[in-house]
Structures are given as structure tokens and as C-alpha cells.
Symmetry: C2
Subunit: 285 residues, 2 copies
């Protein structure tokens, strides 16, 4: 099932064309997006997602529709959704028609979370590390590279996932030229050392993870300590737990890294179970 | 004027929507494109452009429509075009609908070359250099970064041009971390040292320039020598001529670099005039 809504709240046929051929979204990958998990009709972290969308748009000098419009589109999708199970809700905004008046093209679109994503959440994933080609201090000196903005220009992220498939792996962790861990193509990296959680810093040119923020919040309340600091790729194997975290995949455990089984220090399964419950508890009514 | 054609040769209203909201073009910038200059109804370098489109698609594991389909779309646009002057003809191909059967979404679209482009061709441009953030040997060790593929993920290229505008400049030359010259966001860099033309090598992660190739071919016939080799950013100022070269901008002279007027060694205007004529002579019937 797919439900497509315009930001005036109209539901439109998702199989009918929506964008012009001269829209800067398809022509240039020029726009921003967010993906939000909806469980039992309730979108998770909608506020932080809308705030991040606004931050991405600002990095692109793009004026997105106001928050009330997004909320209207979201409500329309939620109201028209008729399936049980989880929904991935995408909010997309392009720069609009080339040479036009600057009005962005925007929509909200809900699709069912795929069985494959759910299976990986249960069973974990095999991951390869791939060189992202830049130094972690690049973001500050080269804002035009849009590092840290969630843009529609995701061809490289998709190519990285195809490279993983070619190597019989499920997922990717990007690594900077100095060997520090960045992020997955569509996820945040989180590792545990005992009851301490770590994730790499956004100033290394990666996206701030809305789900990682929610996880850290929940974990801190349960007595975990957390830090946002550089992580060396060599530290991943020795961690007590390693996850790819995102809205739709939630906490997905990394099982193997570059073909090597991650050693179970005895606490891996228990940690995963505890953190998964803690994150879920954030959304219990 | 804009003329939009499908690859079956149908002309369609370019103001009507063509792409679905779940097309991987707008969702992920996942696709490839080419821009071809059409003068007096004749497309320039159509063959090399179609070959480059196929190479880009191969780097993305994308199966583009066959050449005959592109040619049918091109013919349709050319047949429906009713204006004097030059046309920019874009060929665009996305990966198609997400979760679909893999059929790409493709179209051919002609628009008039803007007066601004023509003005810059006459008067030259002011250029800033911007850090592209990667080393020139990256392309070989990280093919998943799609360096050298002309993808629809051009948000960074567009952001670089906005950065130029912010600094009161027209254009950008990207520079690698070792100080070597790469390319413009939508152009190839060519410099002259006397009657020798140079351009940076594609294995530094840049696009092979179809217009640069045509220029070198024409120049060699007129007695110029040429080389494809690394160019240091420090070499640009001292050159006898410096151009941004692309299909639509043809040979556009660089007038200032990072705010500094390029010194006229006395031959700049003559060289520009001679090379412009040589390139044009490639297409004289």
C-alpha cells in the first residue's frame, strides 16, 4: 500500500505522475527529505524530523513549506492509511520547476515497511566498511559540499548499498580518510562499551540521527552514559554492541563487519534486547 | 520555449507532470543525464554524448534505454522545435519507480539557451576555486563514490554555484585536496600555454568532456599540441588562456580567478578567438 498526499491535505493517486520533467528534483537531485516511522498511526519524532528537514533546506538555501503544511500532509496520509503494521512516511521537497518562481514541489508519502527491513531488525545485518573519501574536518571548511544535509542527491548512498550487495553484505559503514567512522548510507552508527553508548560527531560531516537522539535519551534515563565523539574503525570490532540506527530500521544489530563475525562478549544479545525495549518505551502511551 | 518528448517519439506537454512521486529520480537523484547543444537544428557530438550516458549508467548499474530510443526522442524534439537560436537538449534517465520492474524513466527535453549563457560566452566569467574535498586518486579506490559519472545527484554542483554567486562570482573550479585542478560543476577546465592545450585527467574523478575532446581534435588539426595531465591550481593564473568548456557554454573565457584579474600576456584575446573559430569549424557543413 502507498498513500500519497499533497501538503494541502489532498490525497492523490500515487501511480499518477506528480512532478514535471523540468523539476529540479529529478533534474538535479536538488531538494531535501525525511523518513519517519509510523507505528499504530503515530509518527515517531515528527518534530525533530521536521526540524532536521528545515536545517537541511537551510544548508541548500531552499525555502521549504511551513511546518503547518507538512503537518497537514502527514495528517492526510495517516487518515487515509488502512493497513496494520508499520509505515515509512516520507516527506520530500524539491526546489521546484527550473526557472520557475521558486515554489518548492513537496509531498508526503506513506509506504509499508518492507518485510526485509523487519527481518533485518530481528536477525541483524552483515556490514562492510567503505571509504567515503573525505577528511572529517571537511564539513567546516567546505559547506558547499552539503555534508550533514539530507538531500535528494543520494546516488552515492545507493551505489554504496549496491557495492555491499556485490560483496554479499547487507549494509555499509562509511569511513573517513583518517580511519574514523562516519555513518551508514541511510543510518547512524552507535556502539556500546559496557553501559556506555557512543556515536560519531555531526561535525565530521554526517547527519544528526533523530532515532540515535531518542535512543540516547531513553538509555540515559535507564542509567547508560553516552558520548558523541570520534570513533575509530578499529574500535567497532571490540565493542560490546554495534548497531545501525535509523527511523525505519530502529536498532539493527551489526552481526559481521567486513566478513568477520563480531565476537560475542556475552552481553551482546542482552544489550540489544534492553536498548530495543528502551527505545520502544519512548513511544508507549 | 520548451519541447518535451518521450523516447517513443511522442511530444508531451512539458507543463504536465511526467514523473511519479515514487520515482527514484526525484527520491534519490538516482539516474544519469546529458546536455547537448543544438545549433541550426543539428545536435553537436550526439554520438559521444550517448556513449558517455551509457558509461555513466554502467557506473550506476543502470540499464538505460537503447540508443535507437534516445535518437527517436531527439528527433521528436528537433522536429517540434520552432525557434531560431540555440537549444540545450537534455537527455535524462532515472532508475524508474521504486520497487518497480526496473524500467527506467527517460525523456528528451529541449530548452532555449539562456541569454545569460550567451552573454558569458561573449564576455567571459569570474571564477572562484572551491575545495572538492577528495584526493585525485580516490576514483580508482572508491568506485561507489561515482566520481566520473554524470548522475542526477547534482545538489553539490548547484550549491557550489550558489557559493560563487554569494562571492559575486559567476562560476567555480573545483580543486582536489592536493591542490590539483578538477573541473567546474558543469564544465571542463582547459588552459593554454602558448599553442599547447591542457586539461586535467579523468582518472582524477572528473567527467570526460565531450566539448573538450572536440576542441582538442580541432586544435590539433590546426597545429596545437594537447595533453591530458594533472594541472596545479597555481598554474591557472600564469596560463596564456583559461576556459570553462561545456556543450552549452562552448568556450567561455575565465576573466578573474578568486578575485584576481588574469594577466593578459598579449595573446589571450587572439587565442580565444582562434579556438572558438576552430571549435565552430568542427560543425560547419
Amino acid at each position: 500500500m502507498t498513500v500519497l498526499a499533497l501538503l494541502d491535505g489532498t490525497i492523490v493517486d500515487h501511480t499518477a505522475p506528480l512532478l514535471r520533467a523540468d523539476d529540479l528534483g529529478p533534474l538535479r537531485g536538488d531538494g531535501v527529505f525525511e523518513t519517519i516511522l509510523v507505528v499504530d498511526g503515530r509518527p515517531r519524532e515528527l518534530g525533530p524530523h521536521l526540524e532536521r528537514l528545515a536545517r537541511s533546506a537551510a544548508l541548500l538555501d531552499l525555502s521549504p513549506p511551513p511546518r503547518a503544511d507538512w503537518e497537514r500532509g502527514v495528517e492526510a496520509v495517516l487518515g487515509a492509511w488502512r493497513e496494520p503494521g508499520e509505515m515509512a512516511l516520507r516527506l520530500v521537497c524539491t526546489r521546484g520547476v527550473e526557472g520557475g518562481d521558486g515554489t518548492p514541489t513537496a509531498w508526503a508519502m506513506g509506504t509499508a515497511v518492507s518485510p526485509e527491513v523487519l527481518r533485518r531488525r530481528e536477525q541483524g545485518v552483515s556490514v562492510i566498511t567503505l571509504d567515503r573519501g573525505y577528511a572529517p574536518d571537511l564539513v567546516e571548511r567546505a559547506p558547499w559540499l552539503l555534508l550533514g544535509a539530507k538531500t535528494l542527491s543520494y546516488a552515492v548512498n545507493m551505489a554504496a548499498l549496491r557495492e555491499a550487495a556485490r560483496r554479499d553484505a547487507d549494509e555499509v559503514v562509511f569511513v573517513a580518510t583518517d580511519g574514523s567512522v562516519l555513518e551508514g548510507p541511510t543510518s547512524t552508527v552507535v556502539l556500546a562499551e559496557g553501559r556506555h553508548l557512543r556515536t560519531p560527531p555531526p561535525d565530521s560531516g554526517i547527519l544528526v540521527g533523530t532515532t540515535q537522539l531518542a535512543l540516547f535519551r531513553a538509555a540515559e534515563r535507564a542509567g547508560f552514559t553516552t558520548s558523541v565523539e570520534p570513533v575509530g574503525v578499529d574500535e567497532l570490532v571490540g565493542a560490546d554492541g554495534l548497531w545501525l540506527v535509523s527511523s525505519v530500521r530502529q536498532l539493527t544489530q551489526v552481526r559481521t563487519l567486513d566478513g568477520r563475525e563480531l565476537p560475542d562478549t556475552g552481553t551482546r544479545a542482552a544489550l540489544h534486547s534492553e536498548l530495543t525495549d528502551l527505545l520502544a518505551s519512548e513511544y508507549r502511551v
